[in-house]
Symmetry: C2
Subunit: 138 residues, 2 copies
């Protein structure tokens, strides 16, 4: 809590209750929520919270590199706190999104075909481990 306060301060984001709570939410096991999921989760403890504030705050946190955003196969942006490079895997059946820290080393080169690569999005789809275990077509 004090911790989050300092993190925001250090990143030149003036701390506020809303910003602390949203950043805290992303740092405590809630891995790939949408803006609406965050809003739904926090409005209980912050009754005056506005969805616009959630969107504004997420944009600011992304701009200051405190969190990152990505899209998978749906029309919705997901947010995460995870500084390590990794791959997102979404299960076709249960919809869960897994972080794969395996093999994240490929594509490390900053130049491909003369283009300068500054941002990578690697999205996979399929059937996840848990679903495979419970079905016949494993």
């Amino acid at each position: 809590m004090e911790n989050l306060f300092r993190i925001l301060k250090k990143a030149n984001v003036p701390p506020s209750m809303q910003r602390i709570k949203i950043l805290e939410y992303l740092q405590t096991g809630h891995n790939h929520p949408t803006a609406d999921m965050i809003y739904q989760a926090l409005k209980g403890q912050m009754p005056t919270l506005s969805k616009t504030t959630v969107y504004n705050t997420l944009r600011i946190l992304v701009e200051h590199n405190l969190i990152s955003e990505f899209r998978m196969f749906e029309n919705e942006v997901r947010y995460e706190y995870d500084p390590l490079p990794h791959i997102h895997f979404k299960c076709d059946r249960c919809g869960a999104i897994y972080d794969l820290h395996t093999g994240a080393g490929m594509l490390e080169s900053g130049m491909i075909d003369g283009h300068r690569i500054t941002c990578r999005q690697i999205n996979l789809k399929g059937v996840c481990r848990a679903c495979l275990k419970g079905s016949a077509d494993a």
Copy 2:
């Protein structure tokens, strides 16, 4: 044209003028259009064309594996005809999307961490070759 007719037939998609024209558009150098771009491009030669038909047709063509769809960093679906596995690269400056057939071999394994991978989306961002050539920070 007759060619496209046969392709649709073979894929169990009853051919129609709309379907032929949309598939033709994707096969003739128009690489990553959105549904709206296709609609705008074709309504000149097909005045009665409806945007709903464009969406319906694209969905059908995707379902029958005649084309594929993907999203990059914006809220819009893009469509392409390109059977080869490749990586999409979007230039931060001009917005152009390049197909990179370089190094598409990595991530080839069908299993990662016990998940079955059936679909891959690899999106890169940065500054493209053409933009770099015309600027000082190359």
